[in-house]
């Protein structure tokens, strides 16, 4: 049975892997979420700050 059931971590790993490979999503924002998840620091405060930092970047949005 254990092979049929994914643990919470497996679900999350799989999900963020799918997000990483999705070209339709804005890369910087998706990247910020994935980076925080991978470093075990995905909290609302950290994500809000990361998005704010991104917006403050001079060249943010130019590549999009």
């Amino acid at each position: 049975m254990s092979t049929e059931i994914k643990s919470g971590k497996e679900i999350l790993d799989e999900f963020f892997e799918e997000v990483k490979d999705d070209d339709k999503l804005e890369k910087n924002t998706a990247g910020a979420i994935i980076d925080l998840y991978n470093s075990g620091k995905l909290t609302d405060r950290n994500l809000t700050n990361a998005l704010s930092d991104l917006r403050d970047k001079k060249d943010y949005g130019k590549t999009e």
Binding site: S2, I5, T29, L47, L51, R55, G61
Partner: protein, 808 residues
């Protein structure tokens, strides 16, 4: 997967001295009366693997239960410890807890990466189950079931991640609204139209208009990019213009600050209305809120009823007769009702936080004007007065939020707090007239007039570019977050459904094994959704001719509900334990009837034979049933006892005790060696006395176990003399042992006399020599009257290789 080789406990829970359980990867059935401290074993497992003992944790003891972990008789400078040896020696570790600088500190001896990883993974697994935890899941609310399952499969991390995405998405959407980008862009565009008398939408167009405007002045500046316009402005500006330029910029700033003010005030009013409605709803039914005062009492009652020791079918408070399960479910229903009230309270707190944020956002641009140096200028006095009037009015919204719900006071009506808009109108009109006056004053000088138009439009255009970019950044992030969040919900739902399908099937299979032909079939865990989000889980099953009935406690007896709880636990073990192949079951069958007990034992043996099971029980009859079932399955059978001197202790099998003593001798470990050797001698003496019918003074059952080596040896010597066993009479070892410091009398039991390691080693050698005298080295059995040879008048071992004269 990992199994256990041994567990050593010292100074933890009921265990005062060393308690050693040698397992060698085998399962163990451990019996102990109520109060013997057998649950200490489950507790120390929880401490080792989860670093907390939930059933001990409360406000007094602390959230980890540490305070109740150390044995109460332990001195402050003594260290309590738990040694775990595993099938994989890389994971062997000792966890200690001691008092350091006034507080309890725990530490692990093994800090290797391999062990740390193993422990981290084990933390996610289901390793222990107690009786009181059995029905927790089955009888919990739908929300709690989802929470409990989420915990078990690490799904709480999924829910937490979902919440993070949602919170940040909502925050971003709100921020975009508060920023009022469109209003600000429109305002700046109208500035450009006013100055240039035409709209400008591109940088090229902007440069074209400015170039045309400055052409008559022959400034000698080629405008190729927006940045060149600054050069133009510098050339036009006269040295004495700076004060007017600064004042103009300040007035423009006031105008900008007023653009979103009406919208923000509208939002403020709406949020206050929402906050007031929530506040009034709670105050209008204050009795409901007062119910929260019994929250602790109900929670304690629930805990008490879940205790195995509480077996009465009466309410512990009013003493009315009531079935325990019914009472428990009623209490749980009341706790759920309180949770609803707590939810209302939480919503009020959230509304308050949001309102405070809105107050800050609304005041912020006005405060920025009050912080500007120019506000202090005499000509700006009117601006200052009106801005301050607005700030004071907005700050009034803070007052009602200081009112406590418990005071049952009424909050101000929203109409009483409405910010009078007149100062805004005055400010707007004054800004307009001052800007107009500056514009008119410039008309006298074409260069100066051009300066004003270009300067104002440049600022406006720069603002438009900045805001468009900022708006696009925000919206991009919001849209991306929304897409990720939607996809996450889909993934979460699919994963949970797959999990519940597989999980339900296994629970049903185990339950059917425990309850064959009982017409409870097709047990399923069903997800419940609210507003497109998972809000809970319910248990459904077919009962007799009724399909999909729920909840379990309405249809099932206590024994059956416990079966469901057990099925749930064992399913979790199978599904999620990937590191460990062992589990600890502490008194889980207390409320089972005889047939369920037998089936449960069969289930463990037949379906979980490959697991190492530590099965603890205080039920003597069940212990005897399981003992017979597992004897041939290589299980260890042990008994836990308790007395005031030793605390919790265990009678070890002589073989394991012997191995442990020899291990201590090999490693020169003298701790408790003398006592261990004497215990071993006592055990062997009892065995010999039984086989040779050595008569001792009558004692009651329990006391019979306490016979000391000295008494048994003395009586054995007397019997040998009586039976004229000449070979044995001639052996000096018996007298040598009788004269040893290690035995003597009862007072010397657990003697603390300090002896040399060499003395203890010599004593052990004597014990071994004595053992050889009575136990056959070839067949391992003692000489016994069962193999008495009437002709030769000899006692012998089973194989008759060891024999002595024995006259009857």
């Amino acid at each position: 997967m990992v199994k256990l080789n041994s567990i050593g406990v010292k100074g933890l829970r009921g265990v005062r001295n060393d308690l050693f359980i040698g397992l060698n990867k085998r399962s163990a059935l451990i019996y102990g009366d109520n109060g013997s401290g057998k649950s200490s074993i489950a507790d120390v497992f929880d401490w080792f693997f989860y670093d907390r003992i939930d059933h001990l944790a409360d406000e007094e003891i602390g959230r980890k239960g540490y305070e109740a972990l150390r044995n109460v008789f332990l001195k402050d400078d003594e260290t309590a410890s738990l040694s775990m040896e595993f099938g994989n020696p890389m994971f062997d570790s000792e966890k200690t807890i001691e008092i350091k600088e006034g507080s309890l500190k725990a530490s692990l001896s093994n800090d290797s990466i391999e062990f740390t990883e193993y422990l981290t993974k084990s933390k996610e697994e289901n390793l222990t189950l107690r009786y009181k935890e059995l029905v927790t899941f089955v009888l919990s609310s739908k929300t709690d079931k989802l929470r409990a399952l989420s915990e078990i499969i690490g799904y709480s991390k999924v829910t937490e991640t979902r919440d993070v995405l949602r919170v940040v998405y909502n925050r971003l959407s709100k921020e975009i609204k508060t920023k009022g980008f469109d209003n600000l862009i429109n305002h700046q565009q109208s500035q450009i139209i006013e100055q240039f008398e035409q709209n400008v939408t591109t940088s090229e167009q902007f440069i074209e208009v400015v170039t045309e405007m400055v052409k008559p002045f022959n400034l000698g500046v080629e405008i190729e990019a927006l940045k060149d316009i600054n050069e133009v402005l510098k050339k036009i500006k006269k040295p004495d213009d700076s004060k007017i330029v600064k004042q103009e910029a300040f007035v423009l700033k006031i105008e900008e600050s007023l653009v979103n003010l009406p919208t923000n005030l509208g939002e403020l009013e709406s949020q206050y209305k929402d906050y007031k409605a929530k506040f009034d709803a709670i105050v209008s039914d204050i009795e409901k809120l007062k119910k929260l005062t019994i929250d602790k009492l109900l929670t304690s009652a629930k805990e008490l009823l879940l205790e195995e020791s509480y077996t009465e079918n009466t309410c512990p408070l009013c003493e009315q007769d009531k079935d325990k399960i019914t009472l428990l479910s009623e209490i749980k229903a009341r706790i759920i009702e309180l949770e609803e009230i707590k939810k209302e309270q939480k919503e009020l707190t959230d509304a308050s936080t949001s309102l405070q944020q809105q107050i800050r956002n609304t005041i912020s641009p006005l405060q920025s004007l009050l912080d500007d140096k120019l506000i202090g200028e005499k000509e700006n006095e009117n601006y200052k007065t009106n801005i301050e009037t607005l700030v004071t009015a907005i700050k009034k919204y803070k007052e009602p939020m200081k009112v406590k719900v418990a005071s049952e006071s009424k909050l101000d009506d929203e109409t009483e707090l409405l910010v009078v808009k007149k100062p805004i109108t005055i400010l707007k009109s004054e800004c307009k007239s001052q800007l107009r006056a500056i514009k008119i004053s410039r008309k006298k000088d074409p260069k100066w007039e051009a300066y004003g138009k270009i300067s104002t439009s440049s600022h406006a255009y720069a603002q438009i570019i900045r805001m468009r970019k900022e708006k696009a950044s925000y919206e991009n992030q919001r849209d991306t977050l929304e897409a990720i969040y939607r996809r996450f919900l889909k993934k979460q739902k699919e994963a949970l459904e797959a999990f519940l399908d597989a999980f339900s099937g296994k629970i049903d299979e185990i339950y059917q094994f425990l309850n064959p032909d009982e017409k409870v079939e097709n047990i399923k865990l069903i997800p419940i959704e609210k507003n497109n989000e998972l809000s809970g889980i319910t248990i459904q099953f077919d009962f007799l001719d009724n399909k999909d009935v729920t909840p379990p406690h309405k249809f099932l007896s206590e024994s059956h509900i416990n079966c469901l709880g057990l099925s749930f636990f064992l399913t979790s073990v199978e599904a999620f334990n990937k590191e460990n192949k062992f589990m600890v079951l502490d008194d889980v069958i207390s409320s089972f009837d005889a047939s369920h007990r037998k089936r449960f034992a069969d289930l463990l043996i037949e379906k979980y034979g490959d697991y190492q099971i530590i099965l603890l029980t205080h039920e003597k009859t069940w212990f005897d049933i399981v003992k017979n079932l597992v004897r041939s399955k290589n299980w260890q059978i042990k008994t836990v006892k308790h007395n005031e001197t030793k605390g919790t202790y265990m009678d070890e099998s002589p073989q394991i005790l012997k191995e442990r003593i020899e291990q201590k001798i090999a490693t020169s470990d003298e701790s408790n060696l003398g006592n261990d050797a004497r215990k071993y001698l006592e055990h062997q003496l009892k065995h010999i006395a039984l086989n040779l019918e050595v008569k001792v003074t009558y004692r009651h059952n329990d006391m019979n176990e306490d016979r000391m080596a000295f008494e048994l040896l003395t009586e054995l010597k007397g019997t040998i003399n009586k039976r004229k066993s000449t070979e044995l009479q001639g052996e000096p070892i018996i007298d040598r042992l009788l004269g040893s410091l290690f035995i003597g009398n009862k007072d010397s039991h657990d003697s603390t006399t300090e002896l040399e390691f060499s003395d203890m080693k010599a004593f052990w050698n004597d014990v071994m020599e004595f053992e050889k005298l009575f136990f056959c080295e070839a067949c391992g059995t003692p000489v016994s009257l069962r193999y008495y040879d009437e002709g030769a008048k000899q006692i012998s071992c089973k194989k008759r290789e060891l024999h002595y004269i024995w006259k009857k």
